[in-house]
């Protein structure tokens, strides 16, 4: 079992060109915890996840991973940290015209030198091929190892993206609306897969998700975000319909604004 990451936000604010995307948020996530982030478009879910893997700098406050404040780390330390945090995006961001194995092994790039990565991207060693196969089997598509990535179905490609994140040997998995553009059955399947794997490996899992029903079903903790603030943070059973309705209530201005 790999070590798992703990996250803590201390009065974190993020401002984009004068508009506040996150306002003095305090939150902590224990190692191995699974947390779902819900809330309307533009509530700050993506910003939140980007803070956790240090791809977004807070404009105020401090993001701590395993107790260390990210602002104090050198760029080398940040790279090492990012290499251990898996990120699964809605648009998958796979390289379409290479074989699946190369997309999976790309998860290791953060810990490889240039020559090593060139080798992994051309003639991977047997050990690497076997590692990639093992990970693909865990997400259920071991036989696709040498297929061209863009010949796979949407659901299979999503599994490749998850395999790439797992190949990082992560301490945490972050998933940014991984199921917002797939049909309900496949969405359920993917959320189940991610929560099952995280639990089995003891990984911390943070997922932003629009589907509140799925979040309630699979996650022991729900965080509602609205306008860059935490609206609620509780177990699904403790959250009532009025709170949820409040979360998604649109103001006239929001109704006309573009979602982020």
């Amino acid at each position: 079992m790999t070590a798992s990451a703990a996250f803590r936000l201390d009065r974190v604010s993020v401002t984009f060109n004068g508009t506040a995307a996150m306002h003095e948020v305090d939150l902590s996530i224990a190692p191995g915890e699974a947390v779902a982030f819900v809330g309307p478009s533009g509530a700050g879910k993506t910003t939140f996840l980007r803070l956790l893997n240090a791809t977004q700098r807070p404009t105020g406050g401090c993001v701590r991973v395993d107790g260390r404040c990210l602002g104090t780390l050198s760029s080398k330390e940040l790279r090492a940290l990012r290499s251990r945090i898996g990120f699964v995006r809605q648009d998958l961001a796979l390289v379409p015209n290479v074989r699946v194995i190369h997309n999976v092994l790309a998860g290791r790039l953060g810990r490889m030198g240039l020559l090593q990565s060139l080798r992994a991207m051309t003639f991977p060693s047997q050990a690497m091929s076997m590692a990639a196969h093992e990970i693909l089997e865990r997400v259920g598509i071991g036989e696709k190892l040498y297929e061209r990535t863009d010949t796979l179905s949407g659901g299979q490609q999503q599994r490749v993206a998850i395999a790439r994140a797992l190949c990082q040997q992560p301490t945490a998995l972050l998933a940014d609306e991984p199921v917002s553009s797939v049909d309900p059955a496949r969405a359920r399947d993917t959320v189940a897969l991610l929560t099952r794997i995280s639990r089995a490996e003891g990984l911390t899992l943070c997922m932003s998700i629009h589907n509140v029903e799925l979040a309630r079903e699979f996650f022991p903790r729900l965080v509602g975000l609205r306008g860059g603030r935490v609206a609620f943070d509780d177990a699904p059973d403790a959250i009532d319909a009025a709170q949820l309705a409040d979360l998604y209530r649109l103001s006239a201005a929001e109704m006309l604004a573009d979602g982020a």
């Binding site: 076997m130 036989e143 010949t151």
Partner: protein, 315 residues
Amino acid sequence: MSDRAVAVRALHAARPRSTYVRWSMIGFAALTTWAWWAGDFDVADFLSPRRMANLERFLGEVRPYPLHGRPWDWGVAWHWAATMFTDGVRARAFELPSGAEAMAVTLAISVAAIVLAGIGGALAAFPAARTFATPQPFLPGSDRSKAFQRRAWGALLHGTRGLLVFMRSIPEYVWAYLLIGMLGISAWPAVLALTIHNTGILGKLDAETVENLSPRSLAALRSVGATRRQVAAVGAVPAALSRFLLYFFYRWETCVREATVLGMLGIASLGYALSEARVRDRYDDMLFYVLLGAVLVLIGDLVSAIARGIVRRSA
């Protein structure tokens, strides 16, 4: 060997492979070898003493004339360059145009040519676009055209495309050569040569842009009753305009370069001044025109890059 190793090996053996990629790699290697062998590139000859002596003489000659056999002086060199730029050379036996004049003619040729080619290309784009050159554009479900109508539109499509291919398949230099024969020496052959070649290129690029436009919004215009021409004018042109402009400026860059080269055929651009200086053995003046051409191309590239940046950001 573990089960997994066996499984991975089996998957590797059964991996989908592209024979096309493999054969093109082999073909590429073979072609490179052949080119080196058939071209007879002799490295020893390239560095022969005779060539070296030639090179030395050339380097002596390109030194500005007032500085021949004298130590280098920036002031003198600058004065010489300034005179070349404003006055050129007025010797008893011959004249060389001023740098400013040659530069202006080169620029004028390139601008005139690209404006004509831009208009021609944009107009040709529609009959050359598969989505427009069809009996019932964007509403295939309502198509009740006869076979001869489909053939007529097909003929227009392929006719336009064929014409564009023909226009761009002949290099500017060759077009200019032919046109000088027809029209005599003036700036027109250069302008028309660049126009013809670039209309061929812009027509193709613009047609591809038009074909790649979102068919839904254009179909929506059709379904409110717009004609083919109305869809083109009101829907397609605004949507494609930024791409058209990107290609327009990109080709203008090449027009500036080519306008210089075409001067070597006797049209009064920088190329003419350059070849004229060479014929008179004025290597220093020749180098001046060469550098002036480089400056002009640099300015052209810069202006084009800025314009394209603005277009891209506003698109």
